[in-house]
Symmetry: C2
Subunit: 415 residues, 2 copies
Amino acid sequence: MTAELICVGTELLLGNTVNTNAAFLAEKCAMLGLSMYYQSVVGDNPGRLEEILHVAAERSDVVILSGGLGPTQDDLTKETAAKVMGMELVEDARAKAEITAFLEKRGRRITENNWKQSLVPKGSKVLYNPNGTAPGVIMEREGTCMILLPGPPNELEPMFEDQVYPYLHSIQPEILCSKMVKLCGIGESLVETKILDLIEAQENPTIAPYAKTGEVHLRITAKAASEEEAYGLIAPVEEELARRFGDLIYTDEPEVTLEMAIARLLEQGQLTVSTAESCTGGLLAGRLVNVPGISRYLREGYVTYSNEAKEKLLGVSHKTLEAYGAVSSHTTAEMAEGGAKAAGADICIAVTGIAGPDGGTEEKPVGLVYIGCYCKGKLYTEKNLYSGSRSKIREYSVASALTLLRRAILEEVCK
Amino acid sequence: MTAELICVGTELLLGNTVNTNAAFLAEKCAMLGLSMYYQSVVGDNPGRLEEILHVAAERSDVVILSGGLGPTQDDLTKETAAKVMGMELVEDARAKAEITAFLEKRGRRITENNWKQSLVPKGSKVLYNPNGTAPGVIMEREGTCMILLPGPPNELEPMFEDQVYPYLHSIQPEILCSKMVKLCGIGESLVETKILDLIEAQENPTIAPYAKTGEVHLRITAKAASEEEAYGLIAPVEEELARRFGDLIYTDEPEVTLEMAIARLLEQGQLTVSTAESCTGGLLAGRLVNVPGISRYLREGYVTYSNEAKEKLLGVSHKTLEAYGAVSSHTTAEMAEGGAKAAGADICIAVTGIAGPDGGTEEKPVGLVYIGCYCKGKLYTEKNLYSGSRSKIREYSVASALTLLRRAILEEVCK
């Protein structure tokens, strides 16, 4: 089966908004085993939308639209799609009641316009919207399925997950299951080289690599007649990946992030951690604090941007700073050890580097970043050289620091 | 003149990548005064690409493509576009030399495939690429202009800025100039209400609002025969906005961020600042450290996630924490004052709140965030209630904290 996306919105044509809905919907369709060949963006213009809808309905089995379901005169996606599908609009009592309740709860005035949103194509499946006033709809006619979703991601995403995904799953003749194997501490090209034979020989299941900052994610997807059979096909591939990558794999659960995997290891070892940051300036602590409940393991962190702060808060020696400079493996080691002592933590992860755009020298260029990790008496240090913008260098530094932190905890927990 | 975008790439159809190129190119086209009615995404499939190129060349004056210029057999954008434009491919000596130099400098092996990238449509304008091996091209034929750009944003963006923007500017009959007025501390809907009359009456210049987290940006755009005339049209609108919004406007320079505006104020007042963060866990310091050279004003910051850390590092009293809790205006005030003293800074900005998803109570729900700012003896506190995910709540907290910090510094500097 083929699927096609049409995102409606002038804000996309003006570049005011990045089209994250397209990426979200495309990834979900891929997970469902739908083949996608086209995505389009059009404005709130019924003529152009109608024209593109005819083309899409002709060439794709499933056409998914987002946006243009608002209450204003400009929002004409539903009216246009119903016209193309040959369906008339009728009022849906439940939609009307839900819109009233939604607006009243928020103390917002109901205007005549709002009732436009309670109209749905006759015979369509209505997707009620607990997060906004625009219901979505699924229309089916002569082998074409057209799905209308509201534009705001906080309305579109739950509506898709809860109502559209199960529907599309049910009309798919085959079951598609996938697992996401996530790696850190290894580059994308090396990962690809190591699994080139698997990728080239693949049919079912397939392996797709996704490069993230400092991480590589591998999605294994299998088609089968049942979930059990699909996971049975995935298992040997996952085992093979485990053989090849060992503990570079930090999870096989899609929702687990690197910081969550680290929090689990901290829990497992009953270890506490602190942070000591120079060039990343709080971003590393910020990543760890992404994990709800991290307060049990991360009590405090230090942003020590100046040399004085490194001495005062972390006890880095004045001599070390003078002899080797703030950006050196000596300093990062003392930052890590001092940061653990100051916080009374088992572990401290420290970062110092030159994020640019200024401050680089021939000896210590922009992008030079030292990472240190102190873990119960052991010291790990790492030297990195990144290229890119100030923010890219800082992002990569955080990713490397989390990877080194994980490595240190792993050694402590598994020893 | 009309422009249309076609982004080529299977990774977009699979949802592996968010299409930031489309937003970048669309915004630039809007700045150039080009009208955009369509954007499309297709995979590396010459048949489907050719079909969509014919449609685009028919309906738009300028067709901009990104992606599919790589060295592999799959990359067929150039071949297909040249075919549609009726141009043959010929080797470009300078492109060949630059590709060789680029690869040799990086110690990368040159393969037979790479020479494919030195082929360009005969009679086209070649866009040389200092950041990669794929040159871009501009093809003109019978009133249609087709522009091919490489997919990676770090190659596409500078190529567009340096070579395509001036070209499109030169073929535009009118000059388009714009200014970006950025506001903080006021919501999008209130901004829109306050300028509704201006927006409704607008013709030339136009005003377009862009909502960002905790900020609203207003772009004023004017068309004229010369730059001078265009800026002359913009000036009274900008003055009117200044009258209506006063010092809620933090800049009218497009590249200046809120943290940069704050750094300028710190410089102006020769003030130093520190941070004391609980729920934002370093993200606030991280935003300030976005500014190169901030180390002169921000020497250190504290991530005090636990109550103990708040007492130990910031000197928050045990009594206050017991009586009012960690998430209270009393605690945030003591965090701010204590953080300034501990760091020996003139100012400290403090955040404490409940980012969720757990930890909320009826009295103190998820999303409750207190912000405190100590500035040379003065104390400012603010209570906020945000909704959304853990990361959204933290993002909004950072934006509000920066806004309060700016307000406090402004009062100090302007007193």
